[in-house]
Homo-oligomer: 115 residues x 2
Amino acid sequence: MTKLPIPGKPVRGSQSGAPIMALFDLLGRRWAMGILWTLCKDGPCTFRELQERCGSISPTVLNTRLKELRQAGLVEHSGEGYRAKPKGIELYELLVPLGAWSKEWARMIGPEPNV
Amino acid sequence: MTKLPIPGKPVRGSQSGAPIMALFDLLGRRWAMGILWTLCKDGPCTFRELQERCGSISPTVLNTRLKELRQAGLVEHSGEGYRAKPKGIELYELLVPLGAWSKEWARMIGPEPNV
DNA sequence: ATCCGCTGCTACAATAATGGTAGCATTCGA
DNA sequence: TCGAATGCTACCATTATTGTAGCAGCGGAT
């Protein structure tokens, strides 16, 4: 309803106070990690190009996620479009190992029954 | 409506085919990373204890997430309760650096305005 | 000045996901 | 047989996400 809260803190969980849970709350939202990933991996781009890169993301959610990521200090919006800030790149670097791990994991649950 | 899909693939995104996006789709859900985190960090536990550890998670969602994590081969449900499987611990190990990073990050966006 | 295309972004309504409470069926020990 | 604990489901209210359409601003070409 056009509200787009983000008053300063996420509406959802993360009440435990632990920073890791606050981070999980930020990243544990639709497209959040994917946006950061493509922004770092494929470089800065415009709002609409980011839409295309992510596939089926709607502008409503993309705008919401970008606001959250900007507020988290991970992404910024300079004239040329959106780009990851140093802190966002740091986080991306930590996520990179997941890329390699996910390939093994995909082979594991792909062919195998998954029991 | 008692549906609890999980027919074999998540209903949400991850259509890009890239394993990392499939992983982001799995982990980018409410409580998913938190459940794996507490299960690895604080050890195996029962369904209800997991509820308490996670705070305000509802049994409906916890059950859904556990099904997804089990199907992903990251978690199993032995007689004594729930525990992380080797592959889940692997993933947890990759997330551990996020714990340290999140502490710096929390200090950064906490006191500071966050511009 | 006018039109065009691009930018980021919002309105609106429909659908899906999540939260919260109550409660079931089962097991185990007393 | 009774109570307590187990994993889990029904139900409904609330929130999040989707999908489509479109706005206002800007710069360049005409």
